[in-house]
């Protein structure tokens, strides 16, 4: 919801310009209180980073450790008995590969569709004086808070033939009120004069949208694309609910979830795994699957982060 707020002022200044550049003009000697503060601050930050990273690193260590050995516990950051068998076991599972393909496909297609439709809609409702802008916003915002509930929605999808189909991943979530509000807020910050002068030159709405507004909206487009892509990559609920019966439409996260819930029939799966590839356990396999599923996001996100922050910042908050 945060981003649904307006910010006209920051648009031209690039709200993310770091103010500390200006501090440097006149530097005062730091008082003992300041020094103490900065030391504490540094320690606190390091602590926070450690807390954030530790669970991930711990799982990485378990995934690289021999399965039976890991059951003894006591593995923290470094694998005790190095082994890649867990990864080999995970990669041998058929469904996981299908899940990976489906997940990549839904992430690409879903993100493209969502970005195009949300951008067009945001453009429409951000036009000044557009008569229905208020009513349309209300029409959409209500859908963020009120819904028919799981059963009617399920029956509707079934009636529309969306269950057991790839479309259920990309169509129903295509337009979202929230993403649209983020883009709309950003578009409202663009000076009207740009659009007006284009209109005087005879540009229609399509030209204004494609050649004037959209190039300026790159940061917010990148932000929304990242939102949608992460959501698509991480989603599991729709696969579980609507495509439970079709194995060739499974997703990575759903496969992972099934792997997790196999805790209950642990003994049988241990037997099965022993036969196939020596010493792996459900726990170590799970850890390996976790790392594999997480890896793409971790690799991509530092590159997108710069857009993410500036997109949110500009679409963000009034001073």
């Amino acid at each position: 919801m945060e981003m649904a707020l307006t910010n006209k002022k920051n648009f031209n200044e690039g709200g993310y310009s770091a103010p500390e550049e200006k501090y440097k003009i006149r530097k005062r000697k730091a008082s003992p209180g300041d020094i103490a503060f900065h030391i504490c601050n540094g320690i606190f930050m390091i602590l926070f980073v450690v807390i954030t990273l530790y669970p991930v690193l711990n799982t990485l260590a378990i995934s690289l450790n021999d399965g039976t050995d890991a059951l003894r516990g006591g593995i923290y950051l470094i694998p005790r008995k190095f082994s890649l068998k867990n990864y080999a076991t995970v990669l041998q599972k058929d469904n996981l590969m299908i899940g990976a393909v489906v997940t990549v496909a839904r992430t690409l297609i879903g993100t493209a569709l969502a970005l195009i439709t949300n951008a067009i809609l945001a453009f429409i409702v951000s036009r000044k004086n557009f008569i229905f802008a208020k009513q349309l916003s209300l029409f959409w915002v209500i859908t963020m808070y009120v819904n028919g509930g799981m059963i009617p929605i399920f029956l509707l999808y079934k009636g529309l033939g969306l269950t057991n189909s790839f479309a259920v991943y990309v169509i129903p979530g295509m337009v979202s009120a929230f993403n649209m509000l983020v883009i709309r807020t950003y578009m409202r910050g663009i000076p009207d004069s740009l659009e007006e002068s284009a209109q005087l030159d005879g540009a229609g709405y399509t030209t204004i949208f494609l050649h004037i507004i959209s190039p300026l909206c790159k940061p917010v487009y990148a932000t929304v694309a990242l939102f949608v892509a992460v959501g698509q990559w991480n989603s599991w609920f729709d696969a579980m609910l609507y495509n439970r019966m079709s194995d060739n439409l499974t997703t990575l996260q759903y496969e992972l979830m099934k792997l997790l819930s196999s805790v209950t029939n642990q003994s049988s799966s241990v037997e099965a795994m022993k036969n196939s590839s020596g010493s792996v356990t459900p726990m170590s396999v799970r850890a390996a699957a976790t790392i594999i599923t997480m890896l793409p996001i971790i690799c991509i996100y530092p590159f997108l982060q710069q857009y993410f922050v500036s997109g949110l910042t500009l679409g963000g908050v009034k001073e």
């Binding site: 006149r26 540094g42 809609l121 009617p152 295509m174 509000l181 922050v309």
Partner: protein, 318 residues
């Protein structure tokens, strides 16, 4: 907002009638139609289905063919105390998430802003963001790896010190704290961005002047940064309160799952509805809870939007 009349009188413009407007904006209106159809289909069409909350659902006869039993589904839920427990859990968890989440986000934003070393600042921010991108399924795994009885990190340490092992998956009383901590772990980095942005927007000259006057870091935070964050804080809190009856299904379902030992303190509206539907096939009860949630949620959103409109109309949703 208030001076819109003045601008009109400066540049006199002919007032258009409704139909003239429709003609003028015909392209935009045409462009909207697919979206209206879309929202109508996916968000409004299921709404009549809430009728299922008032019937004794029979799969063969469908929602509208089943026997109408009025408010019996609600009465059952209310009299068994279930509705009260669910509402209490959902709201209390959300309250903790919102209040502590925003508090920690503000603290992190301020501390991040005060950091001197640029590289470390960037690294710290990147790391803080990371959990937000990890799916809740994976969060469930990570938590399990830390807390499980046999090989968990915590029990490993307890064992090393010769202490008694801890069994959180059998103890409902520890989960309110654990879930809040997990939520904070995942969301704080993301939440702090907005505050960080707001701090960046503070006029650097004010801060500079305070430094010249000899204000230390604490005074700077107390008297400059916090007061300028006040409007942001109020608005964000109000928006968050609008969704207070909407539970975080992914978090609870992936961490608690179907561990019925823990339901007393961890069952929220969403998880109950899910179980009632998928494992008990009790569609009518599930829908009754869902409808109750929608109505309460709608009322709260309307009230919150009204309050925001009073404070600053520019922020209002509609």
């Amino acid at each position: 907002m208030g001076n819109s009349k003045n601008t009109n009188s400066v540049t006199p413009r002919k007032k258009r009638g409704f139909f003239e407007n429709v003609v003028k904006y015909r392209t935009l209106i045409l462009m909207c139609i697919p979206a209206i159809v879309f929202f109508f289909m996916f968000s409004y069409m299921p709404l009549p289905g809430i009728w299922v909350a008032f019937v004794k659902y029979n799969y063969g006869k469908g929602i509208f063919g089943s026997k109408f039993i009025g408010l019996q589904n609600f009465e059952f839920l209310a009299s068994s105390g279930k509705l009260l427990t669910l509402t209490k859990n959902t709201i209390l968890y959300n309250l903790a998430f919102i209040l502590l989440g925003n508090f920690l986000a503000i603290v992190m934003a301020i501390l991040l802003n005060e950091m001197q070393a640029k590289l470390f600042k960037k690294v710290a921010q990147t790391m803080m963001f990371l959990p937000y991108f990890i799916s809740q399924v994976l969060v469930g795994v990570l938590v399990f790896n830390l807390l499980n009885y046999d090989t968990g990190f915590i029990n490993g340490i307890l064992e090393a010190f010769g202490l008694e092992k801890w069994q959180p998956y059998a103890d409902p009383n520890v989960w309110p704290v654990l879930l809040v901590v997990i939520y904070l772990w995942q969301q704080t980095g993301y939440n702090s961005v907005v505050y960080f942005a707001a701090i960046c927007g503070i006029d650097a000259e004010i801060i500079e002047a305070s430094k010249v006057d000899g204000a230390n870091a604490f005074q700077r935070i107390r008297y400059i940064i916090l007061p300028s964050l006040k409007p942001t804080i109020i608005i964000l809190l109000l928006f968050a309160l609008g969704g207070i009856v909407k539970g975080n299904f992914g978090l609870f379902y992936n961490i608690i799952g179907t561990n019925s030992l823990l339901y007393d303190t961890t069952d929220i509206i969403e998880t109950f509805v899910y179980r009632a539907t998928m494992t008990d096939f009790n569609f009518s009860t599930a829908s009754a809870v869902g409808l109750y949630q929608s109505i309460v949620g709608f009322v709260i959103v309307m009230v919150v939007n009204g309050v925001i409109k009073k404070i600053d109309p520019e922020y209002s949703l509609f």
